[in-house]
């Protein structure tokens, strides 16, 4: 199994030397990463959320979220259900429109452009282009059931980045090997366990070489004995310096991997801090109550 570093290095060689002009639509920073993000080259935070509001009808789900995520940082978001964690992730890659506020990923406003101080929603291809740089892993995997594991992984590189099939397949196999699924390349999702499906989903997101990965309760739909294999993959991504936001209830995982934990409740960030501090000495009553229920 090739190391992930080797896969990335090969990917970068291909990117630099690629004769295909369309390849240059790949975000420029992809080739600059060593291996993912190099803080010294770009001091700007990977993610900036500024006073983000989102409502569904009368229900205000996000009530002014402001947060930064630095390059290479892993942030864990915890909080009771309905606190807006998933909605925040969905807003970050513009699966939901904002009601107000700004979200910047790698310095670029997501989903909108600014004109005369007003926000105007981007055109659809432009939204798609920005989304391609943000990987997302869903609670319920959302693999494409009519495609094999490899088919799932190569679909977006081929359609969106116009990567030639052979190249996409070679990289896809590398990514599936990376998540420990070399044997399952040609299996359909219905024949994979939940943990295997989620690992394919992670490989699928990585295939687009994202700058930022969003995990929306990636282990909540899994049987307990399958949680570990998925968390191991996420941990190794963290070790490689991937910038990630992980919504999870796995406190042990949070403590081990995340530099920062954010506690959300009813659309606000109640408090944040190192996972260990947040868990051992929560400042707010609401945090204490929540932690006492899940720990």
């Amino acid at each position: 199994m090739p190391s992930f570093g080797a896969v990335i290095a090969r990917r970068e060689r291909i990117l630099r030397g690629g004769g295909d002009k369309r390849m240059h639509r790949v975000p420029a920073t992809c080739a600059d990463r060593t291996p993912y993000n190099n803080p010294t080259m770009n001091p700007q935070p990977m993610l900036r959320c500024i006073d983000v509001h989102k409502r569904y009808g009368k229900l205000e789900v996000l009530r002014g979220i402001t947060m930064n995520v630095e390059r290479g940082e892993v942030v864990v978001v915890i909080g009771p259900s309905g606190s807006g964690k998933s909605t925040l992730l969905r807003c970050i890659n513009h699966l939901e429109r904002l009601d107000s506020g700004h979200i910047y990923v790698d310095g670029e406003l997501v989903g909108y452009r600014q004109r005369d101080g007003r926000l105007i929603e981007d055109s659809e291809p432009e939204i798609a282009r920005k989304r391609a740089a943000i990987g997302m892993v869903f609670q319920r995997f959302n693999l494409f059931p009519h495609l094999t594991a490899l088919g799932n992984v190569i679909e977006a590189p081929m359609r969106v980045k116009k990567t030639p099939r052979r190249e996409a397949e070679e990289r896809g196999r590398g990514l599936l090997a990376r998540v420990g699924l070399s044997e399952k390349v040609d299996e359909y999702p219905s024949r994979l366990s939940g943990g295997q499906q989620q690992r394919v989903a992670i490989a699928r997101a990585l295939a687009m070489q994202p700058k930022l990965m969003l995990f929306d309760e990636p282990t909540s739909a899994l049987d307990p004995e399958l949680v570990g294999e998925v968390l191991d993959v996420i941990k190794s991504l963290a070790a490689d310096g991937m910038t990630m936001i992980v919504v999870t209830h796995e406190m042990g995982f949070a403590r081990e991997v995340a530099r920062r934990a954010v506690f959300m409740d009813s659309g606000f960030i109640v408090e944040e801090g190192s996972p260990a501090d947040l868990m051992s000495a929560p400042q707010h009553e609401r945090t204490r109550l929540f932690l006492s229920r899940i720990l």
């Binding site: 798609a128 989304r131 943000i134 959302n142 494409f144 977006a156 969106v160 997101a205 687009m208």
Partner: protein, 251 residues
Amino acid sequence: MTLALEFDFEVVTRFLFNSQIWHGARVTLQVAVLAQIIGVALGGGFALLRISRNPFAKVFSGFYVWFFRGTPALLQLFILYFGIPQLFNDQTLTNELTKYRAAIIAFGINEGAYMTEIVRAGILSVEAGQMDAAKSLGMTQMQAMRRVILPQALRVVVPPTGNEFIAMLKNTSIASAIGLVELLQASRLIYAVNFKIMELLVVAAIWYLAFVTIFSVLQAELERALAIGERERPETLFSRVIAIMGGRRGI
């Protein structure tokens, strides 16, 4: 009162492959297949309009379904074949619009209304998470539709479409009302001469049943082919035959 059954099987076998009957059967098959193709194409297009965000497209598609589902196919056929040429009073149009073409177009447009609802249901049956996943990978709405949503919707769409096609095969007999010599009309023309009414109706029935049977088998094969990625794929006639033959070879 005596019951005199006068049914001559020999007449049935003689007329089963009669050239007029055969010609009528071919017309029935051609009209049904071409009209169904038009219907599927229109249904796909109007279904996309109906689920689009554009309010004008939605209303337009809704109106189409409302009108063509809301009036009888026979009425629509009369409008196309008798009404429109009179309205435009154009000789070329009258000449070009043969009974055969009028039947295909009218049944096709009528079918499109039903197919719109079937395709729309198929698209809605695909989990919302599929669109989210496709979009999160940077696909545009169109790419996601074509590569992710429609292939999955197809599985849901095929069984009711098969139903529609079977109904279509039989409903082509409506076109006998404008004098198109399809299967039923062909048999009627014959019994008008030889008075073997029951025998010729049985001949027509045998042909309809044969067509429907063949298409039911083909539909089952198509459904099996589309069940790719499913844990259990439906058994079909051919898959069983292949399994049996393979099994024997194994011994």
